[in-house]
Symmetry: C2
Subunit: 337 residues, 2 copies
DNA sequence: TTGAAAGCGGTACCAT
DNA sequence: ATGGTACCGCTTTCAA
């Protein structure tokens, strides 16, 4: 393998000179520099990142922690992160611990510590927040996506869950629905809670007396399907459902169709996330709230770079627009976006 | 930061002793070992991966290169890779170059070289195969997924594209269809070619005289939609279409519905991949060929570990079973799987 | 402008 | 069984 020393020896110059030439730093006689660079090209020399980071104590590594890879949601965020990381000389360490599996979470944290990552971008969940002390010991920036645990610092990124959920409630009202329910999720997460609160707040404004049915389910279509069937049976008058996720929306639609309801004539449905599986439905492309996934990834990594460079950064809340498709009726009456 | 030396000094033992204790290697007096381990725990010492890999010349890093992150397909493969990597002390470097963008591809390769990864798992495409010389210089194992370029060595992983496509053709025949077309893709990839060949072979067996229409499209629903509309208009007698991907299947279904055809009564459709967006269709969950994504990821990483340990490994072709759902008629008549 | 050399945090060999 | 030490490849200070 070619090293700095090899090149230095073969050219009769010092190691330092080669280092400067390779990195474009320091002062060097122009022709020395040129000579070295030619040799570098010729030998195909590539600097050793481990050696470099050992002495600079910068790894140029960013740990990225996501709980789910089997759904396009995090993949699209990852794509955003990766593109700006790569353009700025950072490389991503991808970690995908099974959510709340203690072993997985601690293994992953240990990796992060050993690798001396320069920063961590993660979608936090309780199992990882429990390891906060460890992570904090690294003393590197942490950017939280979607969710937020104060133990992990105060740099975060999310969408306007409250406002967008409120928009969904208002939209359903504007389309003529008056019996509106919600399928929420039973996970410990403030984003779901914010969506719930926004939904309630929207209804409170328009129908102060109305108390909507809200059911909770696990975050998967199967689970929602069961819960939605229960909700629709126990509240046969429902003419609209807001889902805290697209999984919730799809599960609800499944249940509604089984019960012989027509979408959206009998029942309107709005989801959240704008997942591919919601957008690409052949017959019922879902009305939903769009989370700007790629943009969030891009912003997260830009924020990370600023943090690493000690620039001041602000946590950001993205707008999440309402997209009207085929699971809501009277779209022309809906003025809110 | 705590280092080996810190611990050694504070305990009055040698650095070597601490190294042995931490790694559980070498011979050490039991009580010395115990004493050291306690100190390690107390100080929260974590070894520095860069320093370690500098001297061992093993990085315990695996470069993973995927062309697309915005679709659950590669995410699910990644999840499989990550789980076995983590359990074996390896960490993944995630790379997502824009396919066939030269800059991206060379940046990514440079990263791989600098990081001295112990292995590379990738879904190869022409832009990356062009950098094969560089990658080969690393002299580390390369495992190719889905596609295969001989320039990148001979370790690969794929599904039985030919046989499964043949199954699809036979299944469509068994269900009673006699006018069967195909939507293929115009990308330079042998997997698509194998699917095409399998399809043709299946039909040749059953209807030697029949010459099926085969149209090519880009790999996205929009593109397929256009092409499928053209195909269905130019061949109004078609009663079945085999899609080289689920994108092809969905785009075709879209076109068929627009033309007023009933699925599956008027036209049967079988896709390939078993993507979430195909499986989770509310009204038309797609009959398709299932690629075992997680399993492929798991196997790829296991294969990588064997290769690193100089064990002999064999390239593997996974079975890809036919899954019958709602886009094929007379499923009960279809005996092939 | 350039060469020599210290040292980053480990591993592993060579003596003792 | 254990201590001393060379060295991995690179950056950077210091002196010339």
């Amino acid at each position: 393998m070619t090293t700095l020393k090899n090149i230095a020896d073969s050219l009769g110059v010092s190691i330092r000179a080669v280092s400067y030439a390779v990195n474009g730093t320091g002062r060097l006689a122009p022709d020395t520099r040129k000579k070295i660079l030619e040799k570098v090209l010729e030998t195909g020399y590539v600097p050793n990142a481990a050696a470099r980071s050992l002495v600079t104590s910068k790894s140029k590594l960013i740990g990225v922690l996501v709980p789910i890879l089997s759904c396009s949601f995090y993949g699209r965020i990852l794509a955003g992160i990766e593109s700006v990381a790569r353009k700025n000389g950072y490389t991503l360490l991808l970690m995908n611990p099974v959510e709340n599996n203690e072993d997985d979470c601690s293994t992953v944290c240990l990796q992060l510590l050993q690798r001396k990552v320069d920063g961590i971008i993660l979608n936090p969940f309780p199992g990882i927040a429990r390891e906060a002390d460890l992570l904090l010991k690294l003393e590197v920036p942490i950017v939280q996506i979607k969710n937020f645990f104060p133990e992990l610092g105060n740099h975060s990124l999310k969408v306007s869950n409250f406002e967008s959920a409120k928009k969904a409630a208002i939209a359903l009202y504007q389309s003529g629905c008056r019996n509106i329910g919600m399928i929420a999720h039973n996970q410990n997460s403030n984003e779901i809670y914010e969506r719930y609160s926004g939904f309630i707040a929207g209804l409170k404004e328009l129908m102060p007396e109305y108390v909507p049915p809200v059911y909770e389910s696990s975050v998967d279509i199967q689970g929602v399907h069961q819960v939605a069937k229960k909700m629709l049976s126990e509240h046969p008058g429902l003419d609209a459902v807001f889902g805290a996720s697209d999984f919730a929306a799809i599960g609800t639609a499944k249940a509604a169709l089984e019960l012989g309801l027509k979408i959206p004539e009998d029942i309107s449905i709005i989801g959240f996330d704008n997942l591919n599986i919601a957008a690409e439905q052949l017959i019922y492309p879902f009305s939903t709230i769009d989370q700007p996934k790629e943009e969030m990834g891009i912003y997260a990594m830009e924020m990370m770079i600023d943090l690493i460079n000690k620039k001041s950064v602000e946590s950001k809340t993205f707008e999440a627009p309402l997209i009207l498709r085929e699971t809501t009726k009277n779209n022309h009456l809906i003025t809110i976006r």
